[in-house]
């Protein structure tokens, strides 16, 4: 049945949304800041990795380096730009992310032009047959990766010291500083982690969707939608939110109309926001802005 295949398709796209959504949530947890430029961070990560590959570096090494560099870029962004903006006024910070989005997208345009670029595949191109249904090997890998990373993150936040510090700093930065936690450092690290996640996602999807300056545009908004649906600040929630969004989108496109596929995603997001403003899996995190 076409439906089941659509659900399988949705699972793939959904894991991409999930990964990105988790990245956005990490940043939100720590700063109360919704980074509109997250999708574009993904794009830049993919481009940087492509650059490294073009220099002749073997694929796997290039990927690790690329993620690392993207993480560094994220750190630099926090240190030199976002920190200069008054963290107290969320509106300004939000606007700074919008400005960042414009800068990232257009810098990519200037540096690499408008044509999409191919990216070498890190997974086999094979497919798995389950009866009449088909799943690409890469999709399975992406889903597994997404799951593992989310689990790792949860462990990081719950078990490690710095993870716990970051959670406290996110909840209340004044109290955190009083407790001797270096709030600036936690923000700094958070951005590094968020950017690395974004870059990883970009690298994972680059072989199929190619690298172009606007590759982060629509996916970025959907990642935010995923985080919102899952409940902002809730990492596992964002993961599920992404998967759900992917499946709903695929089903909507299959059953209703492929032309209106994107509209369905956005409409779902607005509906969830309207009926359950804290998301479907909210743990009732205080909304900072």
């Amino acid at each position: 049945m076409v439906i089941i295949q659509q659900i399988l398709n949705g699972l793939t796209m959904g894991s991409v949304y999930a990964l990105l959504g988790v990245g956005v949530t990490v940043v939100y947890k720590s700063l109360g800041l919704m980074n509109v430029a997250h999708g574009d961070m993904m794009m830049i990560g993919a481009f940087i990795t492509l650059l490294i590959i073009d220099l002749g570096v073997p694929l796997w090494l290039a990927i690790i380096l690329g993620i690392f560099c993207a993480g560094m870029l994220g750190l630099a962004m926090e240190r030199f730009i976002y920190r200069k903006v008054n963290y107290g006024i969320m509106l300004n910070l939000m606007i700074a992310t919008i400005g960042m989005q414009i800068v990232l997208r257009n810098a990519a345009l200037v540096l690499w032009g408008v044509e999409p670029k191919a990216f070498p595949d890190m997974f086999s191109k094979g497919v798995i047959h389950m009866g009449p249904y088909v799943v690409a090997v890469r999709s399975v890998w992406i889903i597994i990766l997404a799951l593992c990373l989310v689990l790792l993150l949860q462990l990081f936040y719950k078990k490690t010291r710095i993870g716990k510090e970051m959670t406290v700093a996110a909840a209340n930065s004044t109290v955190a500083s009083m407790l001797g936690i270096n709030v600036n450092l936690t923000r700094f690290i958070t951005f590094g982690i968020g950017s690395s996640f974004a870059a990883l996602t970009g690298i994972l999807i680059a072989p199929v969707y190619f690298v172009s300056q606007n590759m982060g545009a629509v996916v970025g908004v959907k990642a935010l939608a995923a985080a919102v649906i899952g409940g902002f600040g809730n990492i596992t929630g964002a993961f599920y939110g992404g998967i759900i969004l992917g499946i709903v989108e695929a089903l909507g496109g299959g059953l209703i109309s492929s032309a209106y596929k994107d509209i369905i995603s956005f409409a779902v997001m607005i509906l969830v926001l309207y009926f359950k403003p804290y998301g479907l899996f909210a743990k009732h995190v205080d909304q900072k802005f």
Binding site: A96, G99, I102, R105, L109, V228, F232, M269, L273
Partner: protein
Amino acid sequence: MIKSKKKFNLVRLVGVLIIIYTIPFFFPNAYIAQIANLIGIYMLMAMSLNLLTGFTGQLSLGHAAFFGVGAYTSAIVSKSFGLPFLICLLIAVTVTTITGLLLAIPALKVRGTYLVLVTIAYGEIVRLLMINWVSLTNGPNGIYSISPVSIFGYKFNDLTKSYYLVITVAFLIYLYIKLLMESRAGRAFLSIRDDASAAELCGVDITMYKIKAFAISAAISGVAGSLYAHMYRYISPSSFSATQSQLFLCMILIGGMGTLPGPVIGAVVLTILPEMLRFMQNGRMLVYGILILLVVIRSPGGIAKYLSVLIGKIKKYVHKIRHQRNEVSSS
């Protein structure tokens, strides 16, 4: 004392009016006239966004949707029923206001971060509808040969003539907003922006004023959209994208968010800049992005704030010189 101040303001007002009405004589060709028209229309959009975001604190990244709804409604009504411009304008404004109210519904429940998401989603939905609802909007091809503005038989089919119309409307809306912000409603808007909970505690009906803000903002956008459709005489979905919404936000940011002259300055600067920077091509938007970051970091009040600070400094300097001179002469 007060009387002389009032007189001074009147002189300034007349001065402004003289300037904006004699500028057309400096138009060397139709191309420049078109830019002037566009500036006027973007001023309206910027003022509309500023009312919602700058004064009421509801950050909207989907304002191009209102612009588009106004433009499309006016164009569709004009082409399908051949109604005179003023009726088209009225219908466009009504429809846009209704969409504004539609957006207000979720906006009442969510704020800040979530609101931005809702506006982004809303903007995308409207754009996708424009592209895919072919029977209504003619799809990606857009609507062409829209008749020019014609009021009581007088045709504004010349770009210079339509400039006069557009700039007059912009001026009137500017006055309207000024009066609005000086009234009770204006103070309510500001209180919602600064601290909504406190305002509620003081007895301000946040719900009603939020709805008002969305409605008025949408209405002004509807006017802008309608004028745009009949001035350009061709509209297509590509003019109402997320990039356009970002551009409007840039305008009020760089011009000075939450000030009265801010949107005006922003509209002028950000419409002329791309024309002057055309040779830069791709680099253009990059410059905008950098400008936004600079403004947000250095001078969140935008150009307006910067200018007022500058003028303040100049005044102080002049005052100091005068004071010194007086001291010298008296000693």
